[in-house]
Symmetry: C2
Subunit: 384 residues, 2 copies
């Protein structure tokens, strides 16, 4: 086990009718900005629950934070924050709304050009306080300090992280996920699954409990994920998917272990250039990443084959191939395509994405920095 420091102070309110709890979680004298996306919260009742809960607060709203939240949109919200003297942001939505709201929270207090937070690693010294009502289990953004924001002009999709943008609280009501479009449900399950894999499928450092926890998340998503389509109003299914997605990226399973994230780095570039959904890119890349890295990841792929997938691993080569095939089959089981050609894309993607990776300095990715640009190209060519 590697040394680590870990804390996750986000207070989780989990369950039916928990949105009402935001009333007591936001200071009574706060000027609140409710941020959200395209308006689905108005048709599924979430907006009404939030309005009811805030009936004694002073609040404003900012709608229109898009999937893959843009710097351009976020900066409009920053103007509202300054104009209305906002001191609490309540993000109501999925990972995009929460990620965007984190950037808004940091940018509003940033001394300088806020784009530098993303492009130059600008230091965040303070941020507006943030809370979240989660509507799409996927990114874990509701209880971590990470955010990814896109620049519509430069086609950059860049991350930043700060404990100062960690939500103070997050409300997770599985009921609000019943009405999600299937594409978003699939995206969320795949995203959570790949988050767990990025922290698990590396090399053994003796961190047995972290491995067991990651395996628990992976098994739960494999068992419950498909039921979210066959039995969409099943509370327990939705609850298990939702809690798994949060636990997949709240820092816990990544504490004391090596981490990969190469699949994410390729995926971010693919979203920035081709507009694919984040999880769509992960489902394309991960199986090929596993195949390309199967020697360096051998021990962990076999452990995954054995413990998570229940495969016979006596023939190691066969078990590794089966594990990769079963991973791809799991993505299909939640209606997620796994090939570039499923989106009308072909071999041209490889050079384009490699150019992007090079431009962003991502020339040696993964837990051992062994995913060179040549390997990234090979992975993308194999993904057609």
């Amino acid at each position: 086990m590697l040394n680590f420091s870990f804390a996750n102070p986000t207070k989780i309110h989990f369950g039916e009718q928990q949105i009402a709890k935001i009333k007591n979680e936001i200071p009574a004298d706060a000027n609140v900005l409710v941020t959200y996306g395209g308006g689905s919260i108005k048709s599924n009742g979430v907006y009404d629950q939030v309005v009811e809960a805030l009936n004694e607060h002073t609040w404003f709203e900012f709608a229109g934070i898009e999937p893959n939240p843009s710097y351009q949109t976020c900066m409009k919200a920053v103007s509202v924050v300054k104009e209305k003297h906002i001191d609490f942001i309540l993000a109501v939505g999925g990972g995009s709304v929460i990620d965007g709201s984190k950037f808004i929270a940091a940018a509003a207090n940033y001394d300088g050009e806020p784009w530098d937070i993303l492009a130059k690693g600008g230091i965040i010294k303070s941020a507006i306080a943030l809370g979240a009502v989660l509507t799409l289990p996927a990114t874990g953004s509701e209880s971590n300090g990470n955010s990814v924001v896109s620049n519509l002009e430069s086609h950059d999709k860049l991350p930043f992280a700060s404990p100062l943008v960690l939500p103070k609280f997050a409300v997770l009501d599985p009921v609000v996920t019943y009405s999600l479009p299937e594409r978003q449900v699939a995206n969320g399950i795949v995203d959570a699954f790949v988050h767990a894999m990025e922290q698990y499928l590396t090399y053994d450092v003796g961190a047995k409990l972290q491995d067991r926890f990651a395996e628990g998340i992976l098994m739960t998503l494999i068992e419950e994920g498909p039921k979210a389509f066959s039995d969409p109003d099943n509370y327990q299914v939705r609850a298990n998917v939702m809690w798994s997605a949060t636990m997949a990226l709240n820092g816990l399973i990544g504490a004391g272990v090596p981490q990969d994230w190469a699949t994410h780095m390729l995926g971010h570039e693919m979203t920035a250039v081709y507009g694919l959904d984040h999880a769509q890119t992960l489902a394309i890349v991960l199986p090929r990443m596993m195949a390309e890295q199967k020697e360096t990841k051998r021990g962990k792929i076999l452990q995954y084959a054995d413990r998570v997938l229940g495969l016979d691993i006596s023939d190691e080569e066969q078990a590794i191939d089966q594990a990769i095939a079963k991973t791809e089959a799991f993505f299909h089981s939640v209606n997620m395509p796994t090939r570039l050609s499923d989106y009308g894309l072909g071999a041209e993607v490889a050079d384009k994405i490699v150019t992007q990776l090079e431009r962003h300095g991502m020339t040696a990715l993964g837990e051992r920095e062994q995913v060179t640009l040549d390997k990234s190209r090979a992975i993308l060519l194999a993904s057609v």
Copy 2:
């Protein structure tokens, strides 16, 4: 899954040489009281590391917090806190030192007779800030708000809980556990194991991830626990035991599930009356509790038999009996006796403990409140 609210803001610093981090975790202008137990920290180097880390702080010390910390000792420390205007307590030790320090932290600010915190559920409105350097992985006290304190005069051993006594930080260095006496190592492993069981072995509420996490802790302790005796200086073994013990009682695996704690309630009374170590009592009671409650816990015992112990569960009765026997065998594998007679005690314990339970209003224990006084008596008689 049941509704829940969960937060655990304790910052964990885990690994070799992490004690130095307390320097930056305690406010520079704090008046610090370092609390500890019988002085083992002076022979194993922990005291020296703490002194070095505090070389720029103003600090005092209070030694002599005993196993099963007493109200009487804690109140002496409260006098020191008041006299020296202490505003930060650094507990250096195992669960007893940390539990005692929590009571000191709460009692020092309590308006009224501090014993009422334990005996009458007196409300804690504030507490001295607390941090911990853990030397004995066992109770999880380093990152929860729970405490158990004993009254030497009345033979009461009573718990209290408050988020206000949750440690701000905890340092977990597995190296400091190498020199622990075997009895304490055994105590810690059994205590952590039973903590996980109290939150896991109840009835199914569909909380699949919590089940997987609890199973991960149980499997890790079963695999690694015995190695702490056969290979005591193995860092990875000690690290996995230490992290498992913390995760077993930091609120995570108990969020959204029913909880039992009947074994603990009987155990507390046995410690109060007979002076047995806390974990010794748990190892005596748990196998008989499982047998007595095997119908109400049937589904979960079978799941435990299957997933944690790898037993064939096609013959359910046989699998349940084997699961109980294997649980007892695990306790033996870490050198922990499991019978009252191992301590020279016999059937007389039953009436004595039942009288105590009755006196403390514990007439219907467990997740379904089905462990009546008669059942507690039967469990104790079966434990001779």
